[in-house]
Symmetry: C2
Subunit: 399 residues, 2 copies
Amino acid sequence: MRIETQRESERLGAVQIHGLQKVYELDSGEHYGYDDSYNNSVIQRISSEALYEKQKQMAIVVPVKNERLKLIEGVLVGIPSPCQIIVVSNSPRGPVDRFEMEKDAIENFCRFTNKRVTVVHQKDVGIAKAIELAGYTELLDDKGLVRSGKAEGMIMGTLLAKWLGKKYLGFVDSDNYFPGAVHEYVQEYAAGFVMHDTDNTFVRISWHSKPKIMENSLFFAKWGRSSVHSNNALNRLLAHYTGYETEVVKTGNAGEHALTVDLALNIEYAAGYAVETHHFINLLEMYSGILDETEPTAFRDKITICQIESRNPHLHESKGDDHVEDMIDASLSVIYNSPLCPELLKRELASEKARRLKVEETESFDKVKVYGNLNTLNIGVFLENCEKALGNAKVELSV
Amino acid sequence: MRIETQRESERLGAVQIHGLQKVYELDSGEHYGYDDSYNNSVIQRISSEALYEKQKQMAIVVPVKNERLKLIEGVLVGIPSPCQIIVVSNSPRGPVDRFEMEKDAIENFCRFTNKRVTVVHQKDVGIAKAIELAGYTELLDDKGLVRSGKAEGMIMGTLLAKWLGKKYLGFVDSDNYFPGAVHEYVQEYAAGFVMHDTDNTFVRISWHSKPKIMENSLFFAKWGRSSVHSNNALNRLLAHYTGYETEVVKTGNAGEHALTVDLALNIEYAAGYAVETHHFINLLEMYSGILDETEPTAFRDKITICQIESRNPHLHESKGDDHVEDMIDASLSVIYNSPLCPELLKRELASEKARRLKVEETESFDKVKVYGNLNTLNIGVFLENCEKALGNAKVELSV
């Protein structure tokens, strides 16, 4: 991979946010590590070996719900071989046991192709028990099982990545039509970790474009309808504290993202559409030094947010209406309701919301559910009980 | 890359046509060469190093005509770094010199990213002169320049690949929206040459699917409207000689294909839409041993045709009507007019054509222009004069 060298960045306390980096070559060949002779001041080359090195320590979490098996298979085809795959499915178990079908198909495909995969159901009793014993009961519903929802599946995937001993964790959607795009995302996750080889690196992908069907032809939209709003609000929030207007944030809603497992286990996950934007906000809350309640340990390490612009358009299955307004609302809500959010920005967000909804009065934002920082979960207890529940399902194929 | 082991194949004389091979993993990681422990009887693993090894000896020819620079750049992004790129452009040189714009943009992009590229215009005087001196005047128009047309650009690219000292040659269209799909094609070319490490290997890609916009949503069509006809006719032709019905040919119209430069310099190119189908027919004419006029040297080597099904859908720029009927007509014409074509198949093709056109009488097929076998060109003379004309344009960047 050949990728633009990071140039501009914004820094608040321990949080460093790098500007969007463009990719210039998907595959720049072999030869280990950096070799300065291939790099100039603008573009750096990352060899395939360096990417594989990171991928060997990486789990890719694929949340699934009622996806067509053909689409899931394509996603698996695109994930590079060195990665450990974790499929967290919340597909129905009755009247037809769709999960069992998925599990069979996925495990068979992976055995066949020597890929490492762990397939679990989001309502797995053993994992829920392990989470309960570890004291993180807020993730559980009244039946004592993990709540439904993609964010909840992501939390489960995060915990399983830790159980599987991985250092890095990436998320990939199961409805991508282009295996080559999935491949690119995972290569870019690895590239981010090569460029920022720390325990607290967050890699977020901004899609090159998203093809939409308009009047019977394709239009390659650059900006998602909801990401415009969250990026803009996050940038205004940063500007408030730095005193300089900025456009540095381009991935406020990045569904395609990866982070070190250490960081993932020390961050809050919001429910629903807010999860990605809240990650951003939560890092600023914890590590920017702005809030009084920042923990004293928080400044020990630098937190690096790396944003990469993918080259493939993002073409995923369209399931009808995208609930754009709900997405905008959820992601702005976590900004609005953060103690970081200055009064002026609150008023602006509220009056912009009123304009979007075409109502007279300014509108507030309902709080979205936010799960407590995963560091409140007793990871030792979780791992011990997870091992009891899933130990025999641990698939470690030879690479 | 992990790919299905070839199982079925048809053999006619020296020509071996392998059945379509499915890809199971785009990126199966590193470690040189084959390692049997990773292979089972059904799927084989090809390491990244083995693919790069082939790509170092590969030229990728990208024919361009008035393509948007953004699209061309995306295609360049997708071509793996070890490959030599040859852009043959037939864009207009006036009133605005579009070629000069392309050349500037492409060369700048490649210098920036350390990619090796040679950009030539199809009407380049020096190359035309070299072709003329080498005695292959049929490629030239009345001004003594290379004729217009994609096939003619492909011939020019073939000769330049030889001049650049490459062993393998692949073709990639310049209007592909997905750099990841381009990357996959080139990886598959290399995989074909790894699996069939001979001087006479032909790799042809069958698209996984081609997304079409239907009633404002995407439909992933499996079979191209024109490839159905050419595959069917080629299979019936094979069946006539083997006595067994077959479906082995899936890539009669494969625009995405690669072959050894040795083979490319010993084959006929048809003009227009017929070029891909004619390659198939011409190999059978020369090496199947069916025709009397087969040259005695023809049986020395085995000719291997390897067909690979890509995993990414093929989404390219739609330039309005595809002239499907012309494409069908051209590709069937080279089958119909081949001395190999039995009378029965001719009658069937003619009456099917009448049905398609909804006319009463059976219809014949006009002969398409076919350029003579490139072995009639004096390659030594060509190379010498090409060097004189382009020597200082030979870009050999460090890798």
